[in-house]
Symmetry: C2
Subunit: 227 residues, 2 copies
C-alpha cells in the first residue's frame, strides 16, 4: 500500500537547512499496523504528510497505492490522497461551518455517495468513537477530546486503504483512548494499512511494529515485523 | 488566589441544556498545585476558563485575586486576567504572525515592559522549555509539540500568580513532558498557584492534590490537600 524510499524533507530557515526527515525508508502492507514514536520535532508529522501525499519529498520517493506522488501535481496528489488515505490530523482540522456528522460525511459525499447514505455512515462512525451525542454540534461547541474523536471518525469512513493517525489519543482520557485503539486495530485486521504516531507506548503496543525517529532519522525498530 | 463557589456553566443546544459544569467548588492558594483529571467532555477546559476569567459562570461565583469576575464586564475581566493569570490553552492559541519569541514577549510588552527586556525574558523562557532554536520561527514552521512548548513559555513569563495549564504535555514525548512538569513545579514552589488539566496520572502526581471531574461535577479528590 505504501512504500517510502530514501525520502528526505528539508526546509530553508534563513540560511539554515532544517532536515525534518533524512533518508527514511518505510513499507506498510495491507493489514499491517506500524507505530511511530520519537521526541517532539523528530519528524513524525512530516513522515505522515509524505505518506499521505499531503507533501512531496525533497529527495527520494513515496509510492502510495501504486502512484509515485513526486510525479503528480497538487491536483493529482489530492485525487490519490482522497481515494486511498484517511487522515487524523494532529490539530483535527475540522470544518468550523459543518456539524460533526457533516464533517464526517464530507469525504463520502466527495466520493459521490448520496447525502442520505453518507449521513448513515457518519452516524455509525460516531457510535464507534462513542460520540453520537455530538452529531449536530459544531466544532466550537465541543471539547478538545470531542473534536479529536470526530476527526478520528472522519478518517474511518469510506474504507480507506491507508489510515494515518497523528497522535489521535493525545486529548483523550485512558478509557476513551483504549476504545479508539480497539477501533483502529479492528480496521487494520479488516485489511487497511495503518501508521499511528503516538507518544504513548501503551498505544504503540497495539501495532505490529514500532519505528523510532530522532532528528528526522529512524534510529530503531521493534516488534514482530513481517519476517 | 482563586476561589470558585458553587459555580455552574450551562449551554443551550436547541432545547437541551448542557451542564458543562455543575456546582463546582475549588480554592487554590499561592504555592498550591492542583491537578484536574476526568474523561473527555467532563468540564476540565470549562473549569479553567472560569478560573482564568475567560468566561463567566451561569451560576455561583469566581473570585480571582480578590475580584469577583461576575461583577466585571469583558474589559474588566481582561484586565484581571492579564495581570494575574498565565494560560496554556489546549490548542495553544499562538499568534500566527509573530515568531516564538514575539509570542512569548507579548504579555510582558502588554504589561508595559520594554521590547528589549521582554525579549530577554522570552529567551529565558525558551531555554526553560528546551526550545531556544525556535526563537525566530513562526507557528506554521513548528511541530505540534514545539508550538505547545512555546505556549507554555508564554504562560511562564511575567510571574503570574495563577498558572492555568490545559493538557500542556499532550503533544510531548515523555522526556520533554517531564522537563515541563519540573519547570511548573518550580514555579509553584516559588509562590504561584497552579491548576493543571491532564490525562496523565504520572503528571498529576507532581501536584499537591488531584480533583476528578465527571459530567461537570467533582466526583473525587485525592492527594495531600492542605490540612
Ligand atoms: N458552546 C457550547 N455549546 C454546547 N456545549 C458545549 C459548548 N462548549 C462546550 N460544551 C460542552 O461542555 C462540556 C465540557 O467541555 P470541556 O471543553 O470543558 O471538556 P473537557 O473536560 O475539557 O474535555 P477534553 O478532555 O475533551 O478536552 C462538553 O460536553 C462540551 O461538549
Ligand atoms: N515550514 C517549516 N520550516 C522550518 N522547519 C519546519 C517547518 N515545518 C516543520 N519544521 C521542522 O521540522 C521538524 C519536524 O517537524 P514535525 O512536525 O514532523 O515533528 P513531530 O515529530 O511531529 O513533532 P511533535 O511530536 O512535536 O508533533 C521540526 O523540527 C519542525 O520545527
Ligand atoms: Mg507532530
Ligand atoms: Mg479540554
Amino acid at each position: 500500500v505504501l512504500r517510502i524510499n530514501a525520502a528526505s524533507r528539508y526546509y530553508r530557515d534563513g540560511d539554515a537547512e532544517i532536515r525534518a526527515l533524512d533518508e527514511i525508508n518505510l513499507t506498510v502492507h495491507a493489514g499491517e499496523f506500524v507505530a511511530v514514536m520519537g521526541p517532539s520535532g523528530s519528524g513524525k508529522s512530516t513522515l505522515l504528510s509524505l505518506a499521505g501525499a499531503l507533501d512531496t519529498p525533497t529527495r527520494g520517493e513515496v509510492v502510495l497505492a501504486g502512484a509515485n506522488i513526486s510525479a503528480l501535481n497538487a491536483t493529482g496528489r489530492a485525487a490519490v490522497r482522497r481515494r486511498h488515505a484517511g487522515f487524523v490530523f494532529q490539530d483535527y482540522n475540522l470544518v468550523p461551518a459543518l456539524t460533526a456528522a457533516e464533517n464526517i460525511a464530507l469525504p463520502l459525499e466527495l466520493d459521490g455517495m448520496s447525502v442520505r447514505q453518507a449521513r448513515r455512515a457518519a452516524r455509525a462512525a460516531l457510535i464507534d468513537v462513542d460520540a453520537v451525542e455530538l452529531t449536530d454540534r459544531f466544532p466550537d461547541q465541543m471539547s478538545g477530546g470531542q473534536r479529536q474523536r470526530v476527526a478520528i471518525a472522519r478518517a474511518l469512513v469510506g474504507e480507506r486503504s491507508l489510515l494515518l493517525a497523528d497522535e489521535p489519543t493525545g486529548a483523550l482520557d485512558t478509557n476513551t483512548g483504549e476504545t479508539i485503539m480497539r477501533v483502529l486495530r479492528a480496521r487494520i485486521d479488516a485489511g487497511a494499512a495503518g501508521i499511528l504516531v503516538t507518544h504513548d507506548a501503551r498505544h504503540a503496543a497495539w501495532a505490529d511494529r514500532t519505528v523510532f525517529l530522532r532528528d528526522g532519522r529512524v534510529t530503531d525498530e521493534t516488534g514482530t515485523a513481517a519476517a
